[in-house]
């Protein structure tokens, strides 16, 4: 399944836009929220996003000396921990399509003293600028949702992953309980944009966030998409009642 609804249009939240415009529209959203990104994540998820990311790292099986790609790495939450785990002989690449996010991430990690084994790359997930079979682990946390052509991005990740390597996709998904889903919907469309307006002075971006989550493929569909591009032993794990799911796939 691809997000593109016809050859020339795609979703941007609930709106239909030209495929060529989506990347720049998403970029505008993230330029706007970059400075308050971490604060907003903590506020919106009551800090639980940190546990979802911990779970992702627990599932990565990362070892010293490995090469990790933290795609859509944003403000570097995963990169910070990966950097310590791979050690000086390993390498972590924080890649994000958005310049503002890379800048915020780079400043934050350098302020934390994380230097030496981390590289920063502004890159489009659909056309990753890395050699074939290069990374041991690729993670993309809360990023795939914003990619215009998800199939192309997954194929690109498959190409740069080493045989034996694993892809971890942490993304908003579909809650498994109907009542819970209704409460979550109400929160997403009524409370979330208001928090965004008050804290980041940008309600529209958070309205887009809520809409883009609803337009994102559900757990089984995304797993199928991963299989279609070649990933094997795919599985997913629902977190917090399916608000978020961690998908995992291997390249052999």
């Amino acid at each position: 399944m691809t997000e593109q609804t016809s050859s020339s249009t795609t979703h941007f939240g609930f709106k239909q836009v030209e495929s060529t415009q989506k990347a720049s529209m998403v970029a505008d959203v993230f330029h706007s929220v970059a400075a308050k990104y971490d604060v907003m994540n903590d506020l919106m998820s009551v800090g639980i996003h940190r546990l979802w990311k911990r779970f992702t790292i627990d599932c990565s099986g990362v070892r010293p000396g490995q090469k990790i790609l933290d795609l859509a790495g944003g403000t570097g939450d995963l990169t910070a921990k990966f950097s310590r785990l791979v050690g000086p002989k390993g390498q972590v690449v924080l890649a994000d399509i958005n310049e503002s996010m890379v800048k915020v991430g780079r400043d934050k990690l350098r302020d934390m003293g994380i230097v030496g084994n981390v590289n920063y790359v502004q890159a489009n997930a659909e056309e990753l600028p890395f050699p074939d079979n290069h990374f041991d682990v690729i993670t993309i946390a809360f990023g795939l949702r914003n990619v215009t052509d998800k199939d192309k991005a997954l194929a690109s990740m498959y190409r740069v992953l080493k045989p034996g390597g694993r892809l971890l996709v942490l993304e908003f998904s579909k809650p498994t309980n109907e009542q819970f889903a209704k409460a979550y919907d109400w929160y997403s469309f009524n409370i979330l944009p208001k928090i965004g307006q008050i804290v980041a002075n940008d309600g529209d971006s958070y309205q887009y966030l809520a809409e883009s989550i609803r337009m994102h493929p559900d757990q089984a569909t995304l797993e199928g998409m991963m299989q279609d591009v070649g990933f094997e032993q795919t599985s997913y794990h629902n977190l917090t009642g399916g608000i978020v799911a961690l998908h995992r796939g291997f390249k052999f």
């Binding site: 639980i48 546990l51 599932c59 099986g61 785990l85 050690g87 694993r166 032993q233 917090t240």
Partner: protein, 213 residues
Amino acid sequence: MPAPQLALAAIEGAVNRLLSLDPETVSRLSKLAGKQLAVNIKELNMTVVVAFSDRIDLLLPDESVLEKSSDKQDEWDCKITLSLWSIKELQDPSRITQLIKQDKLDVQGDMQIAQDFSSLMKELEIDWEEHLSHYTGDVIAHQVMKTGKKVHETALSQLQKLGKMISEGAIEEKKVAAPAIAVVHFSDQVHQVRADVERLQSRVDIIAAKLKD
């Protein structure tokens, strides 16, 4: 909510906070940097990985990671498998060989990593008064610590007195518990009976074998 991750995040935060309070931690941690120690607790069927760098990260590898690692002996630098009940006994290094023989402890890989980690935690020397003085000033910090020590000592001595009183009451007056010497004597008797039964069992086995022939 991933509850195990929440618990581990809290422990990790507390451990790193404690380590940061001792200036010697940096040099002690540098010996372990880049190493990973896996601790498997039998009763909980749970493996926690302690990853060392300039701080400590705790990981809770999921099944896919554990399955993959079971094929590779060298996945962790050191792996310890132990029982919850043997954790206290581990504090005495002279008991380690005995625990391994009794199958209560299994160590694979570089044992030195486990020992260095144990030393790191044991040798923590935190000058609480110094840290408190940053918030309250020297005089208040000194008074607080002095009072704290006094309260601690008094509480400890009162607890000891209370324990002694309860123990004497239970043993001497109410006769609901046995004195320590009686317990030791009883244990000796049990050991004697066990040895006698084992001897008898071997004799019966020999006789049974002879009768068969």
